[in-house]
């Protein structure tokens, strides 16, 4: 990418973020970038090329947000929380940018990219789910990702954050995993009942890492 292309891209991004860009306005973007009005035609062969680059920039900045929010943290519940919050807030912050790129969301190149991004995010989550105590951590990461991504879908529709929906996500995320090998893969565990005080049943179950208090888990880690 040339320096001039980048200048135009960042100018468009700034305009979009400020809510001042609703469609493709090459002269306006060039003006924001402090470049001649005909710069666009010289820098991008096709309008599509520009939208793909803007989408890539948006994803890049979002991943930056997440990386910054989780930098230096060990895998686990706290890092998961910080990462998901940065993801949600980043998505809400860039609603205007997403809105103008939306017309290109069905572009095969963007679809393929979204596919890779989804797998990347789900993979990031699997480290957290493993640490939290999920034996089926890949599956737990997939499900957590479906939830986190679903929150974004509704927040984009609502044009802002939905605190009740976010809280409900945390509620679900606090679920305790079953050990692999416990019977009846199709039957839902009636966890609320057990949690209400059927202690004998709970005590009979094998110990799970997820049930250890955080301090104990840390101690285990240090010993290694």
């Amino acid at each position: 990418m040339t320096a001039d292309q980048q200048k135009l891209l960042f100018a468009a991004y700034r305009l979009a973020e400020r809510g001042e860009l609703y469609r493709f306005e090459p002269e306006r973007i060039a003006a924001e970038a402090g470049m001649p009005a005909d710069s666009f035609g010289r820098c991008f062969a096709q309008e599509r090329e520009f939208w793909l680059a803007l989408h890539r920039l948006n994803v890049h900045l979002l991943v930056n947000d997440i990386t910054r929010a989780t930098d230096g943290m060990p895998p686990g519940r706290e890092r998961l929380k910080a990462g998901v919050l940065a993801y949600w807030d980043g998505c809400v912050r860039t609603i205007p940018v997403r809105a103008i790129v939306r017309g290109y969301r069905k572009d095969p190149d963007i679809l393929a990219r979204l596919d890779r991004i989804n797998w990347g995010f789900a993979h990031m989550l699997s480290m957290e789910m493993k640490k939290i105590g999920w034996e089926r951590y890949n599956e737990a990461a997939q499900i957590a990702w479906f939830m986190a991504e679903g929150v974004v879908r509704l927040e984009l529709e609502a044009n802002g954050p939905l605190p009740d929906l976010r809280q409900t996500f945390w509620d679900f995320l606090a679920a305790r995993p079953t050990r692999i090998g416990t019977p009846a893969a199709t039957a839902p565990k009636t966890r609320p009942k057990a949690a209400a005080g059927v202690k004998a049943k709970a005590a009979a179950k094998p110990k799970s890492a997820a049930r250890k208090p955080a301090a104990a888990a840390k101690a285990v880690k240090k010993r290694k």
Copy 2:
């Protein structure tokens, strides 16, 4: 829809379900329906019209499956379980049908229909979540729907059921809701800690309907 259109539609559906239809083969479908080879042109003005009708039939049969599986059950965890299982199994059963309709999934009419279907399913789930004890039952239904739909997405990719992923869904679904008004909407509750035996803390919290055993909840209902 005319009787001839229906005959062709059901014939195509049967062929697809048996895995014998991979693309638009009007003469083959007509043969399966026991109709003359040129029937298609007389019955459907456009190929698109036929695919839209096949998609509608597929959704219709899926909703039928769910209705049959949950017929006569009161709202709650058991009906939710039966409905979600019927939904998953119906989607897996119709993978070959979905595969041939896939090319039309970006059709605006199908997209609008999928949107309505998604809202319909999420709405169905909200009755269950309310009964299970979620105060934020609409949000809980949305999140449950994101999870259930996500399972289908991966099962379609995998071309069959994914038992570990399904079990993980039930694990998440067993999460206990927080009462509305408990502080820190952004912080995840460290439920595993509380569940491990921090009884004093749990006892101090206000009683939640979700924590009552099913029998007690039923008694409450009868009193009304």
